[in-house]
Subunit: 317 residues, 2 copies
């Protein structure tokens, strides 16, 4: 439903706040959004928080709707909670948008944020809107419910390296849109990424994961980041990397190397994690789908492909 057409400038901050409140209020919303601060259900166990902002300029590719942009801003943060194994308990959003922007578009951003909150089993519980150039900062709050938080720094030499799903979809989707190629599933990976909330919870619940992070910076950068934090190295096996189906289509159509899409791109929301190989059966007993892609070593981060080893440099993120 489109709201009455009006700009941020015309309706003013208070008018907008009222509309946004109506956009995000759902059955079960905490008794919030009326005072300056909100009281949240506190869950149990450790409290986990994160905050990250997306900008129209950099994070809104051609063809993305404002609703999808809002989803993305929320998903980026929900995914950071997921990588620790936290269950989201509340989102806050601070929007910084042009005063010439249509109120309906602003509400679409909040609606996208709220849809991601709903997907993650939680609510938008606060935030504000200010005039600016187009940045949406989201804070996500979560609860460990007794689980031990997964971090980047626990990988040990000999551990298995795994990912929760196929890679390269966002890159394939980007090239598809840019070149007018029909590739719905890849485009969905780009525009409406699914943060791996339940997967993160189940992996933390197992107690067997030695390190974990999300792949939002792309596989190359993330393998390096995780290994630096854990003071280890890695061998990634090219032939084991699960590829989103559009990657091969784009490679054939446009000649873009698969590795660029699968390893050096970003905006992936699968989880990268490690565990002791003796725990493989136990990890397989969780409901989490995963693919083993390599091993933790003592040395550098290397890619093994076509019987050659090459150092994995950071990707474009």
């Amino acid at each position: 439903m489109r709201l009455v057409m009006a700009t941020f400038r015309e309706i003013g901050e208070r008018g907008l706040v009222d509309m946004i409140r109506r956009t995000v209020l759902r059955d079960g919303s905490p008794d919030a959004l009326t005072d300056d601060a909100s009281v949240l259900p506190r869950g149990s166990g450790d409290l986990v928080v994160c905050m990250d902002a997306l900008t129209f300029e950099r994070h809104m590719p051609k063809g993305m709707t404002y609703e999808q942009f809002g989803w993305m801003a929320a998903a980026a943060n929900v995914s950071d909670l997921a990588s620790m194994g936290a269950r989201p308990t509340g989102l806050l959003a601070s929007m910084n948008v042009p005063v010439s922007m249509d109120v309906a578009d602003i509400c679409d951003i909040m609606s996208g944020i709220d849809q991601c909150a709903e997907f993650a089993g939680t609510y938008v519980v606060g935030g504000d809107t200010k005039p600016g150039n187009g940045t949406v900062a989201v804070t996500a709050i979560g609860s460990m419910e007794g689980r031990r938080p997964m971090t980047r720094s626990g990988a040990r030499t000999g551990d298995v390296i795994a990912v929760t799903g196929p890679l390269g979809g966002p890159a394939a989707g980007f090239h598809a849109v840019a070149n007018g190629i029909e590739l719905k599933e890849s485009v969905d990976c780009l525009m409406e990424p699914i943060p791996r909330v339940e997967e993160g919870i189940a992996l933390a619940e197992s107690g067997l994961v030695t390190s974990c992070m999300d792949l939002s910076d792309g596989l190359s950068t993330c393998v390096n980041t995780l290994c630096r934090a854990s003071r280890v190295g890695a061998i990634i096996e090219w032939d084991l990397l699960p590829m989103e189906e559009g990657v091969r289509v784009i490679n054939k159509a446009l000649g873009i190397p698969e590795k660029d899409m699968v390893m050096d791109w970003g905006g992936e929301y699968e989880l990268l994690f490690t565990f002791d190989r003796k725990d493989l059966d136990a990890i397989a007993d969780t409901d989490v789908q995963f693919h083993i892609i390599g091993l933790v070593t003592e040395d550098e981060c290397m890619l093994h492909r076509d019987e050659r080893y090459e150092v994995i440099g950071d990707g474009r993120y």
Copy 2:
């Protein structure tokens, strides 16, 4: 200490993140700032959260340093926690600043945020920096430690209305700077407002406060807001209003009406609160300094001054 001169564009986001980390890391910082999300000490009792952004354009008056702007962005949120009676347990900050901005200035903003965190007994535990027009969004997280959160909606007819300190300082400070008048204490009220953290905690601890909010929108607007939320009215006694000393100086020097400064300005960080008059002694037994300024009524919000009653309209915020 000034850091090496360089702009955000020159140093890049990663370089900046490292510098900011070093700016805000203190003894006792949670084991955070290395993963995408941070684990916080969870305190006890209800969890309280808020998020509000300030912009260079609107919230950085002439003469304010970047450090003071950072303090202010944090203080605005810490004050929102204080108005509920929560103890701050963590701050996150998302900065949106021009790529041409000097890294030292950006770090000064974070240093101001961190100084306010330290004043409030807590830490900066996360956030990010993105290119933009100059907006700093802060999320504050707090813990009720078993106290019942104070809200805006509990004032009852017959309750006493009080404030925690003198009003009008930020307005007097603004006019002093604008007109080159030496008025240090008022200027401090404007540039480095003190959020009433311990006062809020003590008031909530008493269990006797029926409603509370901070005065960041100015007394006129806040009396109206609190009374609307509580479905009551008020009489504010002009002769009881505590005035910051600079108010009279500015009034004499520039002819600006005292009421404009004391009631209709914003950026005040004192708390406005109500309680049953039978509890006056008990409230006086807390360590909180306060001034009674009026009574809750059934009718409109009125100002009683010079034997006349006038309706209190919203102020300029």
